[in-house]
């Protein structure tokens, strides 16, 4: 159970407070409701590039990191398809420095040309390091546009191509900031040995006067139902063939998400998962094989991917995956196996409540989905899933016409 209180400032900033008096560290998490799904198809990778620019100095503070480090704090951030999330931890006696820093970059940025020039390079190097100069690193660059034809999930957060980042201009940066970086488009969570009164007064002091509103409506094209199997074959200089299969499924807020997520656990959570124990250990068709759901705010994907053992053909590999999928569609999962994946959810939840930073991040994310209180009901949602829910979910998701396959061939 994670208890919290919430209030909203008059400028629309939503604030959540969680008290944990067992730690000298306070976590602050600020989630901006903007991700790569909000990008212009011709300027992808922008939300993530922008995340880098948020460290390039704000209107009154030339450097973000230095004062935070001076106060014994540490921070980082990440961007995904739906959100851009900034987080920090700091000794509780220096918490006000966090309010000072975060409120200033919500107030306005310095927009330094130098910072833009440098961070464009840094992000292009990140693109190379993690996607292009990495065996199998570009698989998702290929899989996304195969699975999504209309919805912006068709490009990854890093962007479609480094040239999009190289071409980013200062005017784009400013427009993006004006539209999305506003108190009413943000959720702040403070977790640690704090009380709500104190956080309310600090929030009013530092964030209360930020008076700007970039009201916008998010109008994203819905991905139409897929009505035919899709296959892409690609050849790369890698040592082994790899396969990626993706099926469309519901969004994170749909109650059908829970059985779908448990299906992925039955296939591949822990070493006793069906894919690992049957296809990796027993049949030795793959050196690794995983199933997972993307869990996005809009309709997401159910993914199975793995690397084939040397000498195994794509046909054999797909047949074996197909067999495991068809079992899920036909045979009810045994009570013990279902209980196993439910126990795992409960255990993961308990471990995730150890650190204030994890709690702050999770609260912010559930608030983004609609209500932070969901965090305390998640385990119940999973626990009430039945074997027949799993059959329904499996039959809904795993049709051939709903499937995109990427054969990533070694040459």
């Amino acid at each position: 159970m994670i208890e919290f209180e919430r209030f909203t400032l008059s400028n629309g900033l939503r604030v959540l407070v969680h008290r944990d008096s067992s730690t000298p560290i306070v976590a602050m998490n600020i989630l901006y409701k903007v991700g790569s799904r909000d990008e212009d198809p011709e300027r992808t990778g922008f939300a993530h590039l922008f995340e880098h620019l948020m460290f390039g100095g704000s209107v009154n503070i030339p450097k973000y990191d230095e004062p935070l480090e001076q106060a014994g704090g540490e921070n980082n951030a990440f961007t995904n398809s739906d959100i851009t999330n900034y987080y920090l931890t700091i000794p509780k006696q220096n918490l006000e420095t966090a309010f000072w820093l975060e409120s200033d970059r919500m107030l306005n940025l310095a927009f330094s040309q130098k910072s833009l020039d440098v961070q464009r390079n840094v992000v292009v190097e990140e693109f190379r390091q993690n996607y292009l100069n990495q065996p199998y690193g570009d698989a998702w660059l290929l899989l996304r546009p195969l699975a999504y034809k209309v919805h912006p999930y068709q490009w990854p957060t890093i962007g479609k191509d480094p040239s999009h980042i190289e071409n980013a201009r200062m005017e784009d940066v400013k427009a993006f900031y004006t539209k999305y970086y506003n108190p009413s488009n943000a959720i702040m969570v403070v977790a640690g040995d704090v009380d709500t009164e104190q956080i309310l007064s600090l929030s009013q002091k530092w964030f209360g006067s930020i008076d700007k509103n970039g009201h916008f409506e998010r109008l994203l094209p819905a991905e139409p139902e897929q009505n035919g199997e899709r296959l892409l074959e690609t050849e790369r200089n890698v040592p082994f063939d790899a396969i990626y299969k993706a099926w469309h499924m519901c969004d994170r807020n749909n109650s059908a998400f829970y059985p779908a997520d448990l299906l992925s656990d039955i296939l591949s959570a822990g070493k006793s998962g069906r894919l690992y124990s049957n296809l990796v250990m027993k049949q030795q068709l793959f050196s690794d094989l995983n199933a997972y759901v993307t869990g996005d705010a809009d309709n997401g994907l159910f993914v199975i991917n793995g690397k084939l053992m040397k000498g195994v053909t794509f046909e054999e590999a797909e047949k074996a995956i197909g067999y495991e999928i068809s079992r899920l569609c036909k045979e009810p999962v045994e009570p013990d196996e279902l209980q196993k994946v439910k126990n795992r959810v409960e255990s993961l939840m308990t471990f995730s409540e150890m650190r204030v930073l994890d709690k702050a991040m999770n609260l912010a994310y559930y608030e983004f989905l609609g209500d932070a209180g969901m965090i305390n009901q998640v385990v119940t949602h999973y626990n009430t899933v039945t074997d027949s829910d799993l059959l329904t979910a499996a039959n809904r998701i795993f049709s051939n016409q709903n499937c995109s396959t990427l054969r990533y061939k070694a040459i």
Binding site: E74, N130, K271, M281, S287, T350, F351, M354
Partner: protein, 426 residues
């Protein structure tokens, strides 16, 4: 009027209280170090064996044995072990370093009896079945082949062999031919020699339930797995005569750079001050290397430096992946930063920044039971207790610019370092 131009007052952390573990000894002599702390009903139970690559005679013995502990016992198959652990929501991690091997169980307290039974069985009765061994080795072969396509992997592994020599345990890395293994009995042999009570210590952290010590005694405190300690072995390092190495990889978009040298471990009186100096150079986001090569020049997504202490030695390294076209400039800038450290005093402002950062970072690093255990493991394996960190904080508070410059001149002269680049020849 709100003053947004100046930072709110900073309070320095004068008193950091560091929890010492409770220590006790099981009947067979195993020392247990236990942190009773945390808010959740869960535990981490770790067994530490002197069973690293230092102890092995064949190149894959230490890692192979460790990986295959969970692949079957006299009573349970690999599948049954996984089923049981997963059913109870437990998580088992195994790892091998140069000097030690670790087996760590993360479990909810309410399932402790069941999960501890599995852990005991794995540790004492691992049977290394032929079929599972061959699958695990096959998987390793594929993983290695993929890693060998990564410039970062090539640079990292080759680098230590320059410093210590390919035959030395600290310089040796697994080669594809090492995984053509006929003799699978080596794992059972290694297990018998090194995974036993006399060679074991235990580290426990979390909310300790009543009767826990007795439970540990029942599972791990008997003489049934007490065997004789192996004599200590010694190796002499054979550093490469060549100081600069280039590994060609034609399709690379980036070059991996590694620069560094052999360095002392925690037992050396300069270690803590060197840790401070390393932080300033490349150990945090605002470090000189990051500020210069990333935030000023945009050469790289990330650059860092570190000191890796081993039982018998250690090394210092700088590492980055940089755009192929700027490789030479990047190396030059790294050398400039090292030379600057050797010749110029750090100013008070930067000194204070690093000092405050380190103190905050230390406070974070002892936050929560698992974090405490991590910090304790570091010093335990070097022969210290938590008091080591009090000395560390004291040294950090009093360190001077002159001390840092002298240390740099003694240990961080770029002319005395090895340089390795893996990538496309520009």
């Amino acid at each position: 009027m709100l003053n947004r131009n100046s930072q709110p007052a900073i309070h320095t952390l004068d008193q950091i209280s560091i929890m010492e573990p409770e220590k006790y000894t099981l009947d067979n002599g195993i020392d247990v170090y236990q942190f009773d702390s945390g808010t959740q009903d869960l535990l981490m139970i770790e067994l530490i064996f002197k069973a690293g690559t230092w102890q092995q005679e064949e190149p894959f013995s230490a890692l192979g044995t460790n990986l295959m502990l969970r692949e079957g016992t006299k009573a349970l198959t690999s599948q049954q072990i996984s089923e049981k652990l997963d059913y109870y929501g437990a998580h088992l991690e195994t790892s091998v370093e140069k000097d030690h091997a670790f087996v760590t169980l993360f479990t909810l307290n309410k399932h402790l009896t069941e999960t501890l039974t599995v852990l005991e069985d794995i540790i004492k009765n691992a049977s290394f079945p032929e079929q599972e061994c061959s699958v695990i080795i096959g998987k390793q072969r594929q993983t290695l082949a993929i890693n060998m396509q990564k410039v970062s992997y090539l640079a990292r592994t080759r680098f230590t062999s320059l410093l210590f020599g390919r035959q030395h345990p600290y310089g040796q890395t697994i080669q594809p031919e090492d995984l053509e293994i006929n003799d699978t009995d080596q794992f059972a042999r290694f297990h018998r020699l090194y995974y036993h009570a006399a060679n074991c210590r235990m580290l426990v952290a979390g909310k300790i339930p009543a009767g826990f010590q007795m439970l540990l005694q029942q599972h791990f405190g008997g003489n049934d797995w007490l065997r004789e300690l192996q004599p200590e072995v010694h190796f002499a390092a054979a550093p490469s005569a060549e100081k600069e190495i280039f590994i060609q990889k034609d399709d690379a978009l980036q070059s991996a750079i590694r620069m560094g040298r052999e360095m002392f471990n925690r037992n050396h009186p300069d270690f803590i001050a060197m840790h401070f100096l390393n932080t300033l150079l490349g150990g945090y986001f605002g470090s000189r290397l990051m500020s210069n090569l990333r935030e000023d020049k945009g050469f790289t997504y990330g650059i860092g430096s570190g000191i890796v202490p081993f039982d018998h030695s250690g090394f210092f390294f700088i590492s980055a992946e940089v755009g192929s076209q700027v490789t030479r400039q990047a190396v030059q800038e790294i050398e400039n930063e090292l030379n600057k450290l050797c010749s110029e005093d750090v100013n008070e402002k930067e000194l204070e920044l690093v000092r405050n950062y380190l103190q905050g970072s230390f406070l974070r690093s002892i936050d929560g039971p698992f974090a405490l255990a991590d910090r304790y493991r570091d010093v335990l394996l070097s022969g210290y207790d938590m008091n080591y960190y009090n000395q560390m904080l004291e040294i950090e508070r009093n360190i001077t610019p002159r001390q840092l410059r002298e240390l740099a001149a003694r240990y961080l002269n770029p002319k005395e370092m090895y340089l390795l680049i893996a990538g496309k020849q520009a």
